[in-house]
């Protein structure tokens, strides 16, 4: 049994069916890449797995237990979703990286944050940098760290390298590789040809259905 299991999952927004009867099993520690044309339902599929939306029919299980049986915040801490072009909130980088600690009611660990910042080639002094002064690539790196302060069991990445400059893209891809090596299950959605070529387990999606 996989760490994430989707059984006959469909999702409709009003009259429009976006996801059609999807069955999917992702094993623990696996790295799955989903590709497909824009608007085919890739992001919706990730949001369903992240429990940010609920399927119209079918079931999603995590570690053999139905998603609906979990306390939702606890589930999302373990199945963590990183948005395409994420928004950083409040004023500073520190405010953003503090949130995972606030969520778990534990004190802010600057040493841990320092190590993570180093992984994405940013200095500790970056903590006090204002959000409005960051480039797109820096924002994406901070957003990714936000998801990894407390490593989740499953990391969902929604085209996180889209629109990044070459340097930021290389750094983000290296971080993802690092995460994969540390037994975190990664499900990523991408259009990027090099990421598709490097995928160990690739599934294509078309018109809301996974192609076998």
């Amino acid at each position: 049994m996989g760490i994430i299991e989707l059984q006959n999952v469909s999702y409709a927004d009003g009259d429009q069916t976006i996801i059609h009867h999807v069955d999917l099993s992702v094993s623990a520690g696996d790295s799955l890449t989903i590709s497909g044309p824009s608007g085919c339902g890739k992001s919706t599929l990730l949001k369903l797995i992240a429990s940010l939306i609920s399927p119209t029919s079918g079931t999603i299980s995590f570690n053999g237990k139905n998603q609906t049986a979990y306390d939702y915040p606890t589930y999302r801490q373990q199945v963590s979703y990183c948005f395409q072009q994420p928004t950083l909130f409040d004023n500073s980088v520190r405010d953003n990286l503090k949130l995972p600690f606030q969520i778990r009611s534990v004190p802010f660990d600057e040493a841990r944050i320092g190590a993570l910042l180093e992984l994405v080639d940013l200095p500790l002094t970056f903590l006090d940098k204002k959000v409005i002064d960051l480039s797109g690539g820096e924002k994406q790196r901070i957003a990714l760290i936000r998801n990894l302060v407390f490593p989740p069991q499953v990391l969902l990445l929604d085209e996180v390298t889209v629109g990044l400059d070459t340097r930021s893209k290389t750094i983000v891809q290296a971080l993802i590789k690092n995460v994969q090596e540390q037994t975190t299950t990664v499900i990523q959605v991408t259009h990027d040809e090099t990421e598709i070529a490097a995928a160990t387990h690739l599934i294509e999606m078309r018109q809301g259905a996974l192609q076998k």
Binding site: A50, L52, Y75, Q78, S80, F89, Q102, I103, N147
Partner: protein
């Protein structure tokens, strides 16, 4: 006591002021003439009716009727604040709870201080004053919640995706909305006496009360309004923000 000079004839002449507003609406093509006339008509009918009702209630001085009248005021204030909530997933009784608690707690404290007696001529006008201010604050809180939930939708989604419970995901919005709801009362308190001579004080001065005594009442009213707007906004805000989420702690789509 001063001679009050407003009689039916002076009111008819004062209607010219309404004509000024209607003329502006007509010349500037604001399309407000029907609304102005309707609002004036409603105000005249409502005030005339309430005048007779209050005269009757003051005369018979019955505890049950006084409480009933206060509840009627709170019910109406809650209904108006509820209608100002743009969220389609709203609930009247939550608004009523905010108005009821903010009004009765403020009223109760004022009565405990001995500044107010439980007689209809004192309790009913003060209830109206408290409830109407709470109504405005609650309405402002609702509108601000709606605009912030729309503008900051992405941020809330990201906080939820990180595993934040709905309260933590919405706390910045909630604080901002409560602050916005209280701000007019705080601003008004800051300029009191410098810009405005508020209703209670003006009324007492009109009735011939010494301005220095009238000021004491106005200070009391300022305390009351700060209490009622903060209580109303905080209760309404904390009850209303949850209605932007479903039972699965997912952010609902606003139409």
């Amino acid at each position: 006591m001063n001679q009050l000079l407003v009689n039916n004839v002076t009111l008819v002449f004062a209607f010219a002021l309404v004509l000024v507003a209607m003329l502006i609406s007509y010349r500037e093509k604001l399309g407000l003439n029907k609304d102005i006339l309707l609002s004036i008509l409603r105000a005249i009918i409502q005030l005339t009716l309430i005048g007779y009702v209050l005269k009757y209630i003051f005369k018979i001085n019955n505890v049950f009727l006084t409480i009933l009248m206060c509840l009627f005021i709170i019910f109406n204030a809650a209904w108006n604040a509820y209608k100002r909530n743009p969220n389609t997933n709203r609930n009247y009784w939550e608004t009523f709870a905010a108005l009821f608690v903010s009004t009765t707690v403020t009223l109760g404290i004022i009565m405990l201080t001995g500044s107010l007696k439980f007689i209809p001529s004192q309790v009913i006008p003060i209830t109206g004053m408290i409830a109407s201010n709470s109504m405005v604050a609650v309405g402002l809180c609702y509108r601000n919640l709606q605009s912030q939930f729309r503008d900051q939708r992405q941020q809330i989604l990201e906080k939820l995706a990180l595993g934040a419970p709905i309260k933590l995901a919405a706390i910045t919005i909630l604080r901002e909305s409560i602050k916005t709801a209280m701000q007019p009362t705080i601003d008004s308190a800051k300029t009191m006496g410098l810009v405005s001579l508020p209703g209670m004080m003006s009324g007492l001065i009109f009735a011939g009360v010494d301005p220095v005594s009238a000021i004491r009442y106005q200070i009391l009213v300022t305390f009351m309004l700060l209490s009622t707007t903060s209580l109303g906004a905080i209760i309404a805000g904390y009850l209303a923000y949850r209605r932007y989420f479903n039972k699965r702690q997912q952010l609902l789509t606003q139409e």
